[in-house]
């Protein structure tokens, strides 16, 4: 009883499942189909038949959904497989479309998806069941070796990637081990070197700080008192305090500073990086004796911390690297110190050293760059931003910025304000890639450069809206000609109302200049009369409109009545149709919207070609054609060269 019930359900549910525009089968429907098919062998037979019929439908979407269902059942039922493979060649020609006289049907987008999916499924089936079904092997072999279809080759690809990854890991491990071994050998020398640098830096710092001890202590004491202030302000204050505390470079300690800078550079550029590398090597390496690894790791971490503190004290005493790249790396490495360090770099920027000029120049450029898009707001913002750093320099700057012109960006900015001569023909490279004489002395004078780099500005026309003529035309409508003063057909352009009747404004304009009282009164009277008439006309029009709309409403009412009467009659005639009518009513309410929204299988067949598509197609066509022509000629060339090696 149950089985017989299902028998009628299977084709129906298959029909329903394949009749949709969705990119996949409704999972609930699919589940029910599987349940039904599983119930008996006859169901399996029936489903094979029905699905093959669906595959023959002249619509790629139907075929695609059928293909998805086939895959589900194929992977599950043995009977399904054994029945299905018998017609595999037919199935493949319907899903892959390899026969020239049987191309895939209409929606081309779905058809290509269908093809790729079918090929993917065939590969999957062949991998898992190929040894049991000769037909699968045959089909796969034919598509792959005879028609040269590209299979996704999932399994092999995955295996290959795995293999590659493994190899890479092994290689990197070997490298790590090698590094570790070398570290073992010259650990002491590395440590000694670092220690030496640290000691020297310490000495330098000591020399610098000897005479500043007293004031430092005072500063810290003051700081303790003012704890209650908000942290930002405190920070600012602290910064400025420190700024004051700083030992500035002067003629006395210049030598010490130079040494310190040199050492700092070595510290940052070499030791820091090498220590970091060694730590990462130690963390990643898996040696046989972990004890050595752990101990050295500990040592390196200590060294690193030591270096960090030294570095900080260096920076406090006014050393910094001009290139910002290093700072960024630092940030990545030590997250805990970002804030303090950022302050430090700010200090470095605002410090009145020789760095300032270049830094401010950079800033200026930065602020200029966005200026070309939106005008003043950004610029002022950057000015304000700069203002909160330090007062004395920026107030001047603000004044300057206020009356500095805003320039759009261009290549002339590269040589802004420079008055250097530029060397020419230094490398001996002359025109057209030929090497020529080298003239080391040849140079282009700065004036010439300046001449060459004159700022270029595109002329921008002011957009003026030209009014249309708007005179009434004999065929109806208004004249849309846009002339400046006089329309060649309708004379001078004047303001007109909606219907094209001239509104006499010219006298109104003239009125101010002429200032004649009588004329004004006349004009006003005329205008008033006209206005009244216009109002009357409008009223008449409105009335007419009202009448028409009333009529329409009446007609609609009559029609509605008719429909309801007819519907009632229909309901009375059959009991079943009631449900149908109910449906109709429900659907009728938003029929319009449904028509707009709902995609049907038929609608998928209509191709929507936009102008963009057309253009793209043309472009592609010419491009591919060119490419193939080029390829072919290249091939010819090559073969010719091969054939006659001593003649070309």
């Amino acid at each position: 009883m149950v089985i017989r019930n299902f028998c009628s359900v299977s084709p129906l549910s298959l029909e329903k499942a394949t009749n949709s525009t969705a990119p996949e089968v409704d999972p609930r429907l699919l589940k029910s189909i599987k349940l039904v098919v599983r119930s008996s062998d006859s169901e399996v037979r029936l489903s094979v038949q029905t699905l093959m019929e669906k595959m023959k439908r002249d619509h790629s979407q139907v075929r695609y959904l059928a293909l998805l269902i086939i895959d589900e059942l194929f992977m599950r039922s043995k009977l399904f497989r054994s029945l299905f493979v018998v017609t595999l060649d037919q199935f493949l020609s319907l899903s892959v479309g390899f026969r020239r006289h049987l191309p895939l049907p209409a929606p081309p987008a779905v058809a290509s998806v269908l093809r790729s999916k079918a090929i993917e499924f065939l590969e999957k089936w062949n991998v898992s069941f190929g040894i049991h079904y000769r037909q699968l092997r045959l089909g796969f072999d034919y598509l792959k070796n005879t028609l040269r279809f590209q299979f996704p080759n999932l399994q092999q690809n995955a295996a290959r990637i795995q293999q590659e990854r493994r190899e890479r890991e092994i290689r990197s491990k070997e490298i790590l081990l090698k590094k570790f071994e070398s570290l073992k050998e010259n650990l002491s020398s590395i440590k000694d070197e670092i220690q030496l640098t640290i000691d020297e830096i310490r000495e330098c710092l000591d020399i610098l700080h000897i005479n500043e001890d007293g004031s430092m202590a005072m500063g810290y004491a003051e700081e303790d008192v003012e704890e209650f202030r908000c942290s930002a302000l405190q920070q600012i204050r602290l910064d400025s305090l420190r700024e004051g505390e700083k030992v500035h470079e002067n003629s006395d300690n210049k030598a010490v500073f130079d040494v310190l800078k040199e050492l700092y550079k070595v510290l940052v550029m070499r030791h820091f990086i090498s220590v970091r590398e060694w730590i990462s090597v130690l963390v990643r390496v898996e040696p046989t004796d972990t004890r050595f690894r752990d101990s050295t790791l500990k040592e390196f971490i200590n060294i690193r911390n030591c270096l960090q503190s030294i570095k900080q004290s260096c920076e406090q005493s006014g050393c910094s690297l001009p290139n910002t790249k290093n700072h960024e790396e630092e940030d990545l490495w030590e997250e805990g110190k970002i804030e303090a360090f950022a302050n430090g770099s700010d200090d470095a920027l605002n410090k009145p050293s020789e760095d300032l000029a270049s830094a401010s120049f950079v800033n200026e450029e930065k602020s200029k760059a966005p200026d070309c898009s939106n005008k003043d707001s950004k610029g002022s913002e950057t000015v304000v931003h700069e203002g909160d750093g330090s007062d004395s320099t920026t107030s001047l700057k603000r004044v300057l910025l206020a009356d500095a012109p805003v320039m759009s960006w261009g290549s002339f900015l590269d040589n802004w304000g420079s008055n250097r001569a530029v060397l020419a023909n230094q490398r001996g490279l002359e025109l057209e890639s030929h090497w020529g004489r080298v003239d080391y002395d040849a140079s282009i004078p700065a004036e010439k450069i300046a001449e060459l780099n004159v700022q270029a500005i595109m002329y921008k026309e002011e957009q003026v809206e030209i009014r249309p003529c708007l005179a009434p035309l004999s065929k109806g409508g208004l004249c849309q000609r846009r002339d400046l003063r006089v329309c060649p057909f309708h004379g001078p352009i004047i303001t007109r109302d909606e219907e094209g009747n001239p509104v006499n404004q010219t006298p109104l304009i003239d009125e101010k200049t002429l200032d004649l009282g009588t004329v004004v009164a006349e004009k006003l009277a005329k205008q008033a009369v006209k206005n009244v008439r216009g109002r009357d006309k409008e009223e008449i029009k409105k009335k007419e409109n009202d009448r028409q709309s009333l009529k329409r409403a009446k007609l609609a009412k009559v029609r509605e009545h008719n429909v309801t009467v007819l519907r009632e009659a229909a309901i009375a005639s059959t009991s079943r149709s009631e449900i149908f009518v109910g449906d109709e009513e429900a659907a009728g309410g938003n029929r319009l919207s449904v028509r707009e929204k709902k995609q049907t299988l038929a609608s998928m067949l209509h191709k929507k070609v936009t102008s963009k598509d057309r253009l793209a197609e043309r472009l592609l066509n010419t491009r591919t054609r060119d490419a193939t022509i080029r390829q072919l000629t290249q091939g010819e060339d090559a073969s010719y060269r091969e054939a006659y090696p001593n003649q070309w």
Binding site: R38, R76, S77, T87, L92
Partner: protein, 575 residues
């Protein structure tokens, strides 16, 4: 099936009809074989296939003292079943055979003519080897029963149940498949012994034993259109090609021993399997004339003219060794008696008769048999060619129908023409368009022809009439010669229909089986009646094997032995 086995055991069913029943059951279950896989070496369309079926078979009968199965079996005797021609050949070198099949001098060799058995068509029959070995209570093939009857007679007390083994000694029968392809290559495959097994014995791959192709110094330059075995043994095979050549190859040395230059592309070659007195290759070419090439002398012996266009297909009669049938691109099918000039019959599609002539059937069978056994018997006695030709002439003349001379040629050309050319004016056609395939039934009484008009016609050779059987062909390939195959009892004909092969009932024309597996057009098929296997070759360069599906008992056995492998192909309902 088991009901019929029971019937046979109780004696209700005759052995011959039982064997036939089994055979037809096996044919009905033909399916694309997953187990046998021929690894095609060809890089072009397969145009022709042939499995060697010899004219004699050797059996070795072993016996055991008791039915318990202990003790090694003893050799009781050796039986050679042969057609008349095969027997003649065998007598000449009996020592070679003893040596080849390892038969001691003490064992006597019995000879059995195939046509001396109760089998009306003198066909070879199948021995179910493994079944015999397993249980002799299983009913036997009539041929085997005949052998055993003689064994019983010879040894008096030897009982059926003590006879434990009866194995085929002759290993060439139905074993070697010859194929020719469009890339000019011909290859030989062993279809009974696989070269290697894969996937735990689930797939047996048959790789070619050797291949001769363009690289060979005497290989064909262009497509091979026809490759056939020398009918007596596997020592020779013959290939015809589009490069206008027919080569005769020595199988063992893979060298060309004879080469015939033809006037045009060779479409089809044929040798008579029943011939005892000639070794002629009939060749249909682009040229209008059919030529007969003699292997013995290496020269053309006959040039048969009558066709108005190239000759697509040639076929020797199965009832007389002198009769040749040719089908041309002009749509004509002509019958030639090679002892006489000209053709004696041109088939006309409008000349028809309904049905199968049941009353005539019995008579014609006896007649055919009589006419066939006579020259065979003679040939064993008479060595010289002249008297034989005389007797054969008399014999053949009886067989030949009256020459039908078309009326319109009679008036003014009749006197001048050579009597052999009389029928050359007969423009009757058997098909609209070219005749692409011909096949004579096993008893030599009917002819099946395929044409480029997508029709299949069954002709009664005796009367030369179209029997008007309507074959349900959809479409046939038109540009190439087709190779048809027919079962031995002439029940089914296998026809390549575009990408599929269809099996039609010969007498009703209904489609009984459809074999879909090729992805491009199928050109040729060969039915091995011994194993009931169908081999097909097509433009997709594949040779497919269609074999009877295994019985359930076999499958159970297999399943238990390879439990792991078969577990993979199971239902897998996760939800």
């Amino acid at each position: 099936m088991w009901k019929e086995v029971g019937d046979r055991e109780t004696g209700k069913r005759r052995p011959y009809s039982f064997a036939n029943r089994i055979r037809s059951d096996r044919i009905d279950s033909l399916n694309l074989s997953n187990y046998k896989e021929i690894v095609s070496v060809h890089r072009g369309a397969i145009n022709t296939l042939q499995v060697f079926e010899s004219v004699f078979r050797v059996f070795r009968v072993m016996s055991q003292a008791s039915s318990s199965g202990s003790g090694s079996p003893e050799l009781e005797g050796v039986f050679i079943l042969a057609t008349a021609s095969g027997r003649k050949k065998l007598k000449d070198d009996i020592a070679r055979i003893r040596d080849k099949y390892n038969i001691p001098e003490s064992v006597y060799i019995h000879y059995l003519a195939k046509d001396s058995l109760a089998n009306p068509f003198g066909e070879t029959t199948v021995v179910y080897e493994q079944q015999l070995a397993a249980d002799l209570r299983f009913p036997l093939d009539p041929l085997v029963e005949e052998v055993l009857r003689i064994v019983n007679l010879a040894h008096g007390q030897l009982h059926l149940t003590f006879c434990r083994f009866m194995s085929k000694v002759d290993l060439t029968e139905g074993r070697y498949l010859l194929s020719g392809a469009s890339d000019g290559s011909a290859a030989i495959y062993d279809v009974q012994r696989a070269t290697d097994h894969q996937e735990g014995g689930l797939i047996a791959k048959h790789k070619c034993i050797f291949v001769v192709d363009r690289q060979h110094e005497h290989g064909h330059k262009y497509a091979i259109s026809s490759a056939i075995w020398y009918p007596v043994d596997t020592g020779l095979f013959i290939t015809g090609s589009f490069d206008h050549c027919i080569n005769v190859w020595d199988t063992n040395t893979t060298q060309v021993i004879l080469n015939f230059k033809m006037p045009g592309k060779v479409y089809r070659t044929a040798m008579s399997s029943i011939a005892t007195s000639h070794m002629l290759i009939a060749a249909g070419t682009e040229d209008v004339q059919v030529r007969l090439c003699d292997i013995a002398s290496g020269a053309f012996t006959h040039t048969l003219s009558g066709h108005r266009d190239g000759v697509m297909t040639v076929e020797w009669s199965n009832s007389s060794e002198w009769v040749l049938v040719t089908g041309g691109c002009d749509g004509a099918i002509r019958f030639w008696d090679i002892r006489r000039a000209g053709c004696f019959l041109v088939l006309d599609q409008s000349h028809s008769q309904l049905g199968r002539r049941p009353p005539l059937l019995e008579r014609s069978v006896t007649k055919v048999l009589a006419s066939r056994s006579l020259p065979a018997g003679q040939s064993s006695f008479v060595k010289s060619r002249t008297p034989q030709r005389k007797t054969a002439f008399g014999n053949g003349a009886k067989q030949l129908p009256i020459y039908r001379v078309p009326s319109h040629t009679k008036g003014f050309m009749g006197q001048r023409l050579h009597p052999g050319m009389l029928s050359s004016g007969d423009r009757a056609t058997a098909h609209y368009g070219a005749v692409t395939g011909l096949k004579v039934t096993g008893d030599g009484m009917y002819l099946l022809s395929a044409g480029s008009d997508s029709r299949l016609r069954l002709w009664d050779i005796e009367s030369g009439c179209n029997t008007l059987v309507n074959f349900e062909t959809v479409r046939l390939q038109t540009s190439k010669a087709l190779q048809l195959a027919i079962t031995q009892d002439s029940a089914l004909v296998f026809v390549p229909c575009m990408t599929a092969v269809k099996a039609f009932d010969v007498w009703s024309g209904q489609t009984s089986l459809t074999f879909r597996g090729h992805y491009e057009y199928v050109n040729c098929c060969w039915f091995s009646s011994q194993d009931q296997e169908l081999y097909t070759g097509g433009n997709d360069r594949q040779i497919l094997v269609w074999s009877p599906s295994k019985s359930e008992a076999d499958e159970v056995e297999e399943g238990s032995s390879k439990g792991k492998m078969s577990a993979m192909d199971q239902d897998n309902w996760s939800d």
